[in-house]
């Protein structure tokens, strides 16, 4: 499964970067979302993908039954998902605010430090 996922994640990265290179700030937000999803999948895929063996300890046992998926990358991704949402919410409101003040959605017109 990893080669397929590698190609998929590569394409998602490409899509994310392409959207972030647009001038429209709305497209920048879309790019940001794609990027965070792609990054999560990057970690997930790189750690190796295991089918049907979640890292859970069955009742009565002390250690999991047989080989389970690596729990550490999962924990990291869980953190990343939540933080990505925080960043996204902040970015969306920031962009909205910037648009209200500057009356432009063109990134190239937001070059000046003072407005």
């Amino acid at each position: 499964m990893e080669p397929v996922m590698a190609i998929a994640v590569g394409l998602m990265y490409a899509a994310a970067i392409y959207m972030m290179l647009r001038r429209s700030i709305v497209k920048l937000v879309i790019g940001l979302m794609l990027l965070s999803n792609a990054a999560n999948l990057l970690i997930f895929t790189s750690a190796g993908m295991t089918r049907g063996a979640p890292p859970l300890i069955p009742p009565g046992a002390v250690v999991p039954d047989g080989i389970v998926a690596d729990p550490l990358p999962q924990a990291l991704i869980l953190t990343a998902i939540v933080i990505a949402f925080g960043v996204l919410a902040f970015a969306v409101v920031l962009i909205h605010r910037a648009y209200n003040i500057l009356r432009t959605d063109n990134l190239d017109q937001m070059k000046d430090t003072d407005t």
């Binding site: 979302m33 295991t50 859970l56 550490l72």
Partner: protein, 861 residues
Amino acid sequence: MQLAVLVIYLAALITPWLFVQHQHRTAYIMALVPAVLTIWFATHIPLVAGGEVLIHEYQWIPGLDISLTMVLDGLSLMFALLICGIGTLIVLYAGAYLKGNPAQNRFLVILLAFMGSMLGLVLADNLITLFVFWELTSITSYMLIGFNHQSAEARKAALQGLIVTVAGGLALLCGLVMLASIAGSYSIQEILGSSEALTEHPLFVGMLICLLLGAFTKSAQFPFHFWLPNAMAAPTPVSAYLHSATMVKAGIYLLARLQPELGESGLWTILLSSFGAMTMLTGAFMAVRSTDLKKLLAYSTIMALGTLTLLIGIGTETAMIAFAAYLLAHSLYKGALFMLAGIVDHEAGSRDVTLLGGLRKNLPLTAILVAVAALSLAGIPPLFGFVAKELLLESMLGGAFHSFIYVFVMVASIFVVTVASVIALRPFFGTFKAPKEKEKIHEPPIAMLAGPVVLVFLSLVAGIIPGTVGSWVTLPASTAVAGGVVEGYLALWHGLNLPLLLSGISIAVGLVLFKYWDAFRSRLQVLDPIIARGPERGYFWFMDAIVWVAEWQTRILQNGSMRNYLRTIVLVFVGLTGYTLLTRYQLHWNWDVNLYFHELVTVGILVAAAIAACITHSRLGSVAAMGAVGFSVALIFILFSAPDLGITQILVETLTVILLVLVLFRLPSFSNISTTRERIRDAIVALLVGVLIMFLIMITIDVQLFEPISGYMIENSYTLAHGRNIVNVILVDYRALDTLGEIFVLALAAMGVYAMIKFNPATSPGSNHYAGTLILGEKKLAEKDIIHSLEEIHQKMLEDQNIISAGAMKDRNDNDDDDEDDSPNSSYDEDRDHDDSQAAKRKAEEHDDDAENEDKEGKKS
């Protein structure tokens, strides 16, 4: 010895307190410190002359092989005596010279700090410690040259001196580190004697060039000599002390220190003697052209520094004897001459010899002292300068050299006789000429005369009994430089020989040249265009180039366009990571895996949705596509054993879609601004990243550099942390601090969102569109007041100095008032903001809900 250095720094520290009570008399108290140290060092003379080397060990940073160990041998002792001895006289002199100057306090502090640094420099045994003191002398020198910081010229000269010496200092640091790594030790004492290992090492040439760059810039050797004459913008005590007797000799000191280790090398001999000879000639030539007393002396100092370098380059035993004698002689007469030049300037009001004349009646003592010191400069018996000059000529003849060096030395000695005559005769003889009135010119206070009197007296005594001075002071120094016992003696009378003849010729020709000096100088003006193209031009060119490069790279890299930044970052990432990946690792496409149809469909939807989000023209379409992406990701998490991730992703994705729908539709619809060409370019950049990530994943799967730490977590999840869901245990137990950090990030983001929505510029009173603007209305007024009052103060100052008339201020204020009345912008802004305020209020209410949602989400995770 560490204590000696420390005492001077402590003296510098307490100077400000003493100054409050004693004003300029502080200098006389402070002079006691170097005076006592001079005596203390002098008591070591018999010991060191007996061939002993005193080593005081003291650890500083043992782990890095850096110590404060200090060593007193013949060379260090001679320097220490000069630094403390001349230092005493200079501090006394400065007390009188700068009397009444409110900044005298600062001057004394820096001067003493310099003295401590210089003393540390000549005593240090560790190369790094030496370097630290070396840089300290550069910095204190910078502050002393720029002492009159109101003068733009002084500031420029100070900066020039600093840049040249510190740039050399950097090269020196490289050289010292190379030296230490080749020799295996940072201690000069330990490096001694490993000369063969040094000269045969492949790094030798690079090391030598770095070391010489450091020494040459510090000691103003050609082509870096230009900073020294400019440094004469400093007050005279500084010129006398730093820029003739001590600091500029630091480079010479370093060369002498390294002579035993590196003197064997042919490259060393060639570089030192040719640059030394060149510097000597340049200095002598430029001195003859000058008319400013201090410039004359500065150029003749450059000449002397060149001579010293040449002598180290020659490297024979006679040259070593000559080196120590010449160094001592030069410090004695040049220190005196600078102080005397300061007296002439102070009393007669000018330093230009063409504006001075006939001062001997008003300044009889000064005239005599200048005459005697100048005799030593010219090398005329029975002064010590003569002894040194004889030795110089003797070692020149003894060294194996091309005849051009003989010519250089002869020309330089002729010019120096002329220079000495100009200094001694022009200001004091002939008809009276001076900017000040004749009656006002009188001898300076005793504190200013004490220095020159003592130094001239020493020159004379050393000239009369050169044997004693030689065996006590200079021969031990020569021994240290030569790295072995030197057989020799200093004498006034060497018999009738070739050096004496050459000396006689140079004196005769020099005097003839003095007679026609004015004519000679005007002839030399032909060469002015060539001199204007000298090495100093290179310095200015270099400074301009720095500014130009800075501007250029700012224009290219910091152009304010976020897309450019992103593109640059991404391409650098692709280049560096890609290069490393492909050169270090092999890529294996392992297609031998089980693929299920439902998995492929999920991944297909994911990719299709991502691409659809990029190419769609409708906002709703792209939000929907993003939803599809998010839910496909959740599905993949669930399929591949990560149920917790799947649940979280679904929750977050739902919230995200709601958020986007709420906010994105308040923004304009997608605008298509880019041209096709830009799109293709960006697509290529994006695809490069995509391909790199693909490779990265494939290679990461194959490569395992370390044993994963999750094995421990799986095994102990239940036994230690009592949890059956290992991912949850990791989040709240193993990596609980991470989770705490995550909660903080979310809280901060929520606060940011809340702030941006609540403090809407349109809804706040006194509306204008700067951030956090509730009080900006009043603040703006206050700022205006400040500007006003500053302007008034400035105006007042100008009026006090009679630069402008009192009426001018009123006119200007009237103009200001006019400006304020017709400012169309402010009223326009208010109107616009008022219109928006209703809409913004509504928005704010809606956004509050989002912020709350977010907080909940944070708690859930």
